[in-house]
């Protein structure tokens, strides 16, 4: 037992340091394609961690994740854009707009708590489906907000005259200029690290234990004094805050967003990230997000090398092939390894740790 515990500590610190150095050094060597790939993956991972808390830790299903991503994205656009005659905007400072947009996503999640608190598992999934359809309808109908089918530009994130994800003022690191792609990588990585630490601390606390207790046995959790409905809505709200943050970052990275992106399929993509990651693991959700969000981009880049795969616009394009691939992967995972990518890490660690672990002492105590 103690071998197992210290083994975790022995492995974790060096692995974290090496991973940190590699992640920080990548922008010095990699080209724009890989940096953009990473930025999208980091932003998506924030959303995936939020959904993982709800699905994997509390045992609730939500199909409305894309709705809350959209609230974050369009909240930011609306608050930060200068308004014109045919497009709404408040023209707030962009950092303030980003913070309020994330808060709006959280409030939208909180507003759903009468349902999110009472409905359980798949029933919540069905109810949350309504949000996606309402969201889609509103996004297409509210042209001054979203620009309709044509989409709308996303204002840059600036602090004073500092373009957080732009080129001004010029910055460089070891002689490598930090432009959009490099800044995108560092900023999304920073936000991902902060939100991940926050999530891990929450999940380890009494709040996280209450979540797990509700998932593992609602009646017993209540019998121990855990207010089940309240924690269900807390988790739903928390997950929508994470979605809203991911939505803001994705919008900033896209620079232009169209309503049809935030549809049911996007929710399913996030569920795929969580399932592939192993449902209840923070690290798994991040790995799942990296996999699901980069697969279509990788396929697109290397589609010429894949025989029979057409360009981006054909029926058999990269996006389509990516869906088939991770759809298939989900089936394989659910059949053979429900703990997903997280289980692979556990196995690797077990294989690498010397087998000295002795079963814990089980003397029958008085």
């Amino acid at each position: 037992m103690f071998d197992k515990i210290s083994g975790r500590i022995r492995w974790r610190a060096p692995v974290a340091v090496v991973a940190g150095v590699v992640l920080l050094a990548i922008p010095l060597y990699a080209d724009r394609f890989w940096l953009n790939l990473g930025s999208f993956a980091f932003a998506a991972a924030i959303g995936a961690v939020g959904l993982m808390i709800l699905v994997g830790r509390v045992g609730q299903l939500s199909l409305a994740h894309s709705f809350f991503l959209a609230v974050g994205a369009y909240g930011y656009i609306w608050l930060s854009s200068p308004g014109t005659e045919d497009s709404w905007g408040l023209g707030l400072p962009s950092l303030l707009a980003a913070v309020i947009a994330v808060t709006m996503a959280g409030l939208a999640g909180l507003a759903f708590s009468p349902l999110a608190g009472r409905l359980k598992g798949i029933y919540l999934g069905v109810a949350s489906l309504a949000l996606v359809f309402i969201g889609q309808h509103v996004l297409f109908a509210a042209e001054p907000l979203t620009g309709g089918y044509n989409g709308r530009n996303v204002p840059e994130l600036t602090i004073g005259s500092f373009q957080v994800l732009g080129v001004e003022p010029e910055l460089s690191l070891f002689g490598v200029p930090l432009r959009q792609a490099e800044r995108g990588w560092y900023v999304t990585l920073l936000v991902l690290v902060l939100t991940t630490v926050f999530a891990v601390l929450v999940l380890r606390s009494r709040v996280g234990r209450a979540f797990a207790a509700i998932r593992d046995g609602e009646v017993h959790a209540a019998a121990l004094g855990v207010p089940v409905a309240r924690y269900r809505s807390v988790a739903f709200t928390l997950s929508s805050v994470y979605a809203g943050l991911a939505g803001v970052l994705l919008a900033l990275l896209f620079q232009r967003v169209v309503p049809e992106y935030w549809d049911l399929f996007l929710s399913l993509e996030y569920l795929a990230m969580v399932v592939i990651g192993g449902q209840a693991s923070v690290a798994g959700a991040i790995a799942g997000a990296a996999f699901v969000s980069s697969l279509p981009l990788l396929l697109q880049r290397y589609s010429d090398a894949v025989p029979g795969m057409g360009g981006a616009v054909s029926d058999f394009g990269p996006a389509y092939v990516a869906q088939i691939l991770y759809g298939g992967l989900i089936v394989v995972i659910l059949f053979y390894e429900p703990k997903g990518l997280a289980a692979l890490a556990t196995r690797a660690r077990k294989a690498l740790t010397p087998r000295r672990a002795v079963p814990a002492e089980r003397t029958p105590a008085s």
Partner: protein, 276 residues
């Protein structure tokens, strides 16, 4: 030692006229009894007598059609299950179901959930009040675990516990809520004889050392008779009688409930006509 530092006296449990009906079946019919503070009070009865229904009423899971349940004068009926804990009622369940995804320690910490402080922000930002609350909770949980002799199990995944250990951990988890009244639903169910004796000793220690009122819902007459101050016998949802164990054991109506009418008749005959 006491797990709670203080010796808060047990609560008085007054069950009066509690009636539960399911679609025409009366599971509990005007059930009335009182468990005195700091005593062990058993509720026994054959299968289907209404023991589990009573337990579920006392847990806030069933809303009875009528009657009242008072814990030190405070009405329990109408409270949501998670609020019942707030009256000082701790519960250990028949199937001892652990939260499988958590360790034993985390299971016990859930017993202290209501007594802890702090929410999402306190946890995510590691605010001082939350850390203090966690530290206290871990210390208390260790005390309770030591009291019941399950402290060596604390780091184990709860899903891996054998049944007997899980029952003990379940009891520890109920004690961790710092109850003044402890409801135990068949604490010895599925145990063999020497495990039953250990359970009996544990229950006795809880009542004597911690002065907690224990309401024991049990099937096993033998276990109950050895430790209970008072026994309430249920049959077909009605109280047959409440009294000390020796009175209960000698009562014809109780024997009838357990052995059936024929059994009681048999007993009568054998008493009036000694075997020739």
């Amino acid at each position: 030692m006491t797990a709670h530092g203080t010796t808060a006296p047990g609560a008085r449990l007054e069950v009066s006229d509690v009636t539960v009906r399911f679609a025409g079946v009366t599971a509990l019919d005007s059930v009335t009894f009182t468990a005195e503070p700091g005593t062990i009070h058993a509720v026994i009865g054959p299968n289907g007598a209404g023991k589990s229904s009573l337990f579920n009423v006392l847990s806030g899971i069933y809303k009875p059609a009528g009657g009242s349940v008072r814990v030190d004068g405070a009405e329990l009926i109408g409270l949501a299950p998670h609020r019942v804990t707030g009256l000082g009622v701790g519960r250990a369940f028949q199937n001892a179901s652990m939260f499988a995804g958590l360790t034993v320690e985390e299971n016990l910490l859930l017993g202290r959930h209501r007594l802890g402080r702090g929410g999402v922000f306190g946890a995510g930002l590691r605010l001082p009040h939350m850390r203090r609350s966690e530290r206290e909770a871990r210390a208390k949980v260790r005390q309770v675990a030591e009291f019941l002799g399950v402290d060596h199990l604390l780091p184990l995944p709860a899903a891996e516990l054998p049944y007997g250990e899980a029952k003990r951990v379940d009891l520890a988890r109920a004690l961790a809520t710092e109850p003044r009244l402890l409801l135990l639903d068949e604490p010895a169910a599925g145990m063999h004889t020497h495990e039953k004796l250990a359970v009996r000793d544990t229950i006795r220690r809880i009542a004597t050392e911690q002065r907690i009122t224990v309401l024991l819902v049990e099937h096993d007459m033998g276990l109950v008779m050895g430790i209970s101050e008072q026994v309430t016998v249920l049959d077909f949802g009605q109280v047959v009688l409440t009294g000390p164990p020796d009175q209960v054991i000698a009562d014809d109506a109780v024997i009838a409930a357990y052995l059936g009418r024929a059994g009681a008749a048999e007993k009568e005959r054998s008493e009036s006509e000694p075997p020739s």
